[in-house]
């Protein structure tokens, strides 16, 4: 049913349709609305039997999910940013144990400086944890991906993280076609665990594994993710058959057939990029877009197939590895080895900096003329940076950079204080 609804609420309604059995909640913006809404539904008894547990930290949230999942329950939680980092040890643990937990990650920057707005630093911080990471482009896709995520997680016994842009998606009210219960029930069978804590058939889970077997265990986890590369398109295809909607999958191309330049990105920014691409196309530039939905497992073959015919690939990402450069760009470069494609990295939208269509148009204009350097920070305020550099050079006790920069900008008011 097409409903005008906030993104978070759409996720909550969809998660509810997936019949979660244990939901752990800990507040952090921009994820909070999701877990609040699920909480209301549990308290009303709409989801019975379902336990909603108000934990004391994200570390506990993921730990409760681990226990619940190992005891055979369908477990769900949501977090963002600092919360994800606070639960980091348990995030790795859940994947290591092969527990099919589903988590929404409402992507948000990581402090310091503390910042509640959107970028992808949080997701990148756990990219090696063994979780499957799917990025949603729209609220519709975010909602749909949750149903697919439970299915995928439970089929493979791997946890799945659905990444959706904080605020941009979570807090946007727009039309979302909410699924109905019979469709979800038909699509998502009850959870049949691969391993379970059962007094009638006792097993030990989480034993110490030494050098004699650790590498094999890790390799098996890798194989499961490679398996996911086959399953994700099938699951998306079946979803299409059931709903008539294309959601999920590995990668998606837009106007790339004849493109000289292909822009690669993940998440909601793809919408703006497509708009800018349309405009540049109207000016005769041959430019296209590839959106990555599955970041982990990384679909190297499909990425290569989608990009190889373009002389230039511009990777635009909302995160970077400080001291190195783009994270997604590194993976893309690996996938393109030997193709001769030139890869340009663009870091954009950090900490919620708007990525405007105009900025993108300018960027693509330059790209079309081969004027992009290897690594570019979109809309960087060079003047402010230079001023702080000068201050640091002038004397030892230059003070905290973040505060200096804010003062230079003429404001010390931190937006979103108290979250």
């Amino acid at each position: 049913m097409l409903t005008q609804i906030e993104g978070s609420r759409a996720i909550a309604e969809t998660v509810a349709l997936c019949r979660p059995e244990v939901v752990c909640a800990y507040p952090i913006s921009p994820q909070t609305h999701i877990i609040e809404a699920v909480g209301v539904m549990v308290k009303e008894g709409r989801l019975a039997p379902c336990e909603f547990i108000n934990v004391e930290s994200e570390f506990a949230a993921m730990s409760v999910a681990i226990g619940a999942s190992a005891a055979g329950a369908r477990a769900y939680t949501a977090t963002a940013s600092q919360g994800l980092l606070y639960m980091m040890e348990a995030v790795y643990n859940a994947a290591g144990l092969g527990l099919p937990i589903v988590m929404t990650l409402a992507n948000r920057a990581i402090g310091a400086p503390i910042n509640i707005w959107n970028d992808h630093s949080d997701a990148m911080a756990v990219r090696d944890s063994g979780w499957i990471q799917l990025f949603a482009e729209t609220n519709q896709e975010a909602a749909d991906l949750h149903v697919q995520a439970f299915r995928l997680a439970e089929e493979l016994s791997v946890p799945v993280m659905v990444c959706m842009d904080g605020f941009i998606l979570t807090h946007a009210v727009e039309g979302v076609d909410l699924l109905d219960q019979s469709m979800v029930d038909a699509y998502l069978p009850p959870y049949e665990p691969r391993q379970i804590l059962d007094p009638d058939n006792p097993v030990s889970i989480g034993a110490m594994v030494g050098p004699e077997a650790f590498q094999e265990v890790r390799y098996l986890a890798h194989l499961r993710q490679l398996d996911a590369l086959h399953r994700i398109p099938v699951i998306a295809e079946e979803f299409f058959a059931a709903t008539g909607r294309h959601s999920g999958g590995l990668v998606h191309s837009y106007r790339t057939e004849d493109a000289d330049t292909i822009v690669v990105a993940m998440g909601s920014v793809l919408g703006t990029i497509k708009d800018a691409v349309d405009i540049r196309r109207d000016s005769g530039e041959r430019i296209g877009v590839v959106g990555i939905t599955s970041f982990r497992p990384f679909p190297s073959l499909q990425v290569r197939e989608a990009l190889r015919h373009a002389p230039q690939v511009v990777v635009l990402e909302k995160a970077f590895s400080i001291g190195h450069g783009g994270v997604l760009a590194t993976d893309i470069s690996m996938a393109l080895q030997g193709t001769g494609c030139v890869v340009r990295e663009v870091v954009a939208g950090l900490g919620g900096r708007p990525i405007t269509r105009l900025s993108l148009e300018k960027l693509f204009y330059k790209a079309a003329r081969g004027e992009l350097g290897e690594l570019l920070f979109l809309d960087l305020d060079v003047e402010v940076v230079d001023r702080e550099l000068a201050r640091m050079k002038a004397g030892r006790r230059s003070g905290p950079s973040a505060e200096n920069v804010l003062r230079d900008l003429g404001t010390t008011r931190v937006e979103g204080q108290g979250r």
Binding site: V22, V55, E56, A60, V64, E89, P202
Partner: protein
């Protein structure tokens, strides 16, 4: 198999040998049909109090639940020595996740069982003192506060033993550990620090809190059984001497645990809903020296350069416990007056 009378000889203990008891009063361990939850063949050190305590506690919990038990384990000696795969000592469903999250994992297991309509299956979560009083404390307090249906058992050997004997928040003053060495003017662990977790647990007003030692295994079993008669969060703190970390002879584990209680250094009691309901009285009051001298971790207090003032300080701590809990039969108004933290720490 018929019940064979098992002989427990009295070796200076005040424990009643099983042979003197009626069948139904005998220990779970003496029952040939006990579950052997943690089986022999594990790799604990000789005389490990933790292995002993876990065996008695879990078998008692198994009996109390008619075998419907799931155990969650924090990282630490118990976890490491019991599961060097492909060998596992566990004959019950057992899950190890991390060092600091065992109480939360247990909450999750318990929630899942409730959802599945299997509330007959009960959950025990267990860890060493380090995981309990330090790194897992937030999760533990959260589990208590929500009154989740979990029995948490802390095996307290007063230090991080699995990583090679470092100080924890449960290490006693003056004790030598690898991070509180017996050097300098104040050798060993500092005075005036540390956490008294049984009392902190009581402050959560949970249904049941108890302490026990491996010297009185009958008492330990009874407390586990009592704990399993409640729903909600329960806490059992068991003193388990560690021959390796304490520098004690492996055949002295039980003796040392008994002295911890008889000196007053480790008060043994039960509490329900935040109020002490029973204490195990000291049978033969013993000066702390007798306890300390059996352990190399306190060796710097004796010998060539003795430190009698430090021993006196430790004796004062024992006296404070005796007063607080009324550990002596003669103590008047034992629970009337609660010492302030400042007094205890002085």
């Amino acid at each position: 198999m018929t019940k064979r009378p098992i002989r427990f000889y009295q070796v200076g203990s005040f424990a009643v040998g099983n042979r003197l008891l009626r069948d139904d009063e005998r220990t779970v361990q003496s029952d040939p049909h006990r579950s052997n939850s943690i089986d022999s063949g594990h790799r604990a050190c000789q005389g490990c109090g933790e292995a002993l305590g876990a065996r008695y506690a879990l078998d008692a919990a198994m009996r109390a639940t008619q075998g419907q038990l799931v155990a969650v384990n924090a990282t630490g000696c118990l976890e490491v020595f019991s599961t060097p795969y492909p060998e596992t000592s566990w004959r019950i469903p057992w899950l190890h996740s991390l060092f600091g999250n065992a109480p939360a994992v247990a909450t999750g297991v318990s929630a899942a069982l409730r959802v599945k309509g299997r509330s007959d299956v009960r959950v025990v979560s267990q860890g060493g003192d380090g995981s309990t009083v330090d790194i897992g404390f937030g999760c533990l307090s959260g589990m208590f506060e929500r009154n989740d249906d979990v029995l948490y058992i802390c095996y307290d050997n007063e230090g991080y033993m699995n990583t090679g004997v470092q100080r924890s928040g449960a290490t006693p003053p003056a004790a030598r550990t690898a991070t509180t060495d017996a050097v300098g003017p104040q050798p060993g662990n500092a005075f005036g620090q540390g956490k008294d977790l049984p009392r902190i647990a009581m402050a959560h007003d949970i249904p049941y809190v108890a302490t026990a030692t491996v010297a009185d295994l009958h008492d330990l079993e009874a407390k586990v059984e009592r704990a399993m008669s409640f729903r909600g969060a329960r806490y059992l703190h068991v003193l388990v001497p560690c021959p390796l970390g304490w520098g004690s002879a492996s055949n002295e584990t039980i003796h040392i645990a008994r002295l911890a209680k008889e000196t007053g250094l480790f008060p043994v009691f039960e509490a329900e809903y935040g109020t002490v309901t029973s204490v195990s009285k000291i049978r033969r009051r013993t000066p702390v020296e007798e306890y300390l001298k059996l352990q190399k971790r306190f060796a710097h207090l004796f010998g060539k350069n003795p430190r009698p003032e430090i021993v006196t300080h430790l004796q004062e701590i024992a006296n404070r416990n005796i007063e607080r809990y009324g550990l002596l039969d003669t103590a008047d108004a034992p629970l009337a007056r609660h010492a302030t933290t400042a007094e205890v720490r002085s």
